[in-house]
Amino acid sequence: MPKDRADHSGGPLARSSEADTFDVKANALQDPALLRRLLRAKDRMDAASHEAWPVKRLAEVSGVSEAHFARSFKQAFGVPPHRYLLTRRIEQATTLLRDTELSITEIAFATGWESLGTFGRTFHDITGRSPSAMRLEARANLPGLDRMPACVVKAAQRPDLTIAVLEKRRRVVKGTVRPSIKEVS
């Protein structure tokens, strides 16, 4: 997946944090037919979040131009498409940490990252835990979850990425966000 670095190496995420401040015109009503086509692109990311999803590919699924897609997706779903994809990858990684014995390296590659370091750092930035700490915690919280449909349990673990990862990282450095717990391993 050669596009992966472009998705997560900072450029798109960094730009999106600036875009957040002026790009939210949530009350402007969007055409339901367009929304239905945007939903199709979102569904495709859901079904294969480990794959690379450059805007060009997503725009093709929705049948709109790339510029139109990025703007419309953000307006419809509240986050830029790449950040949405990131939430699905973290969700998937959390599920694999909880439910499988796969190593953290295997999980990193299975969920679409090209390097273990990027995965570990991004995972920690978003969830406040290292992958191994998350594995212990998720397994400790299992009782009772078997009464919910497994797919809903999984979706409920999706992180809420209201700010870009780099922005979150920056605020931690500046001390405006409480530092997350330290890595245990």
């Binding site: 009503l29 969007q30 339901p32 037919a33 929304l35 239905r36 945007l38 939903l39 199709r40 979102k42 569904d43 859901d46 079904a47 419809a76 779903f77 439910d99 078997d146 009464r147 449909p149 497994a150 797919c151 809903v152 999984k154």
Partner: protein
């Protein structure tokens, strides 16, 4: 059964399209299809569940003002409505059959803890999970 939940409705953008989907593709039966002017009360039923009707309703007048209707249509189209679950005996067989008939699947069958689930959407955007219960859990999760 004299007491209990009898009708639960979905919003759809087009009742004819919804009817074709739920009846021709999913195999539901029409329970009620009556009109009063422009209003159409349309419910369908799962063939094995005669006490429950699924309503297929369109947002709009006289129930909603146009702005409200537009908002509801947008919510459905972006998949923001609540989850729906269809219980099936054999998820993979149902998946093969529905997929062949052109149903838009959002997720292929996946086994989790012995249950198997897949996901699809109706033409309007309502999302369904199709779940085959794990044999051991059948008593508690049915």
């Amino acid at each position: 059964m004299n007491q209990g939940i009898n009708v639960v409705g979905l919003y759809v953008d087009n009742q004819d399209e919804a009817l074709a989907f739920y009846v021709d593709k999913l195999g539901f039966n029409v329970h009620t299809d009556v009109r009063n002017g422009s209003y159409r009360w349309l419910t369908v039923q799962h063939p094995e569940q005669p006490s429950f009707q699924l309503g297929l309703f369109t947002p709009g007048p006289p129930i909603h003002d146009e702005a409200t209707a537009q908002t509801l249509r947008a919510m459905v189209a972006k998949g923001a409505m609540p989850p729906l679950v269809l219980a099936v005996a054999d998820c993979r067989a149902s998946y093969d059959r529905l997929k062949a008939s052109g149903v838009e699947f959002t997720q292929e069958p996946i086994e989790r803890y012995g249950s198997v689930d897949a996901g699809f959407r109706d033409p309007a955007g309502n999302g369904w999970k199709m779940i085959q219960s794990a044999p051991a859990n059948a008593a508690s999760s049915a």
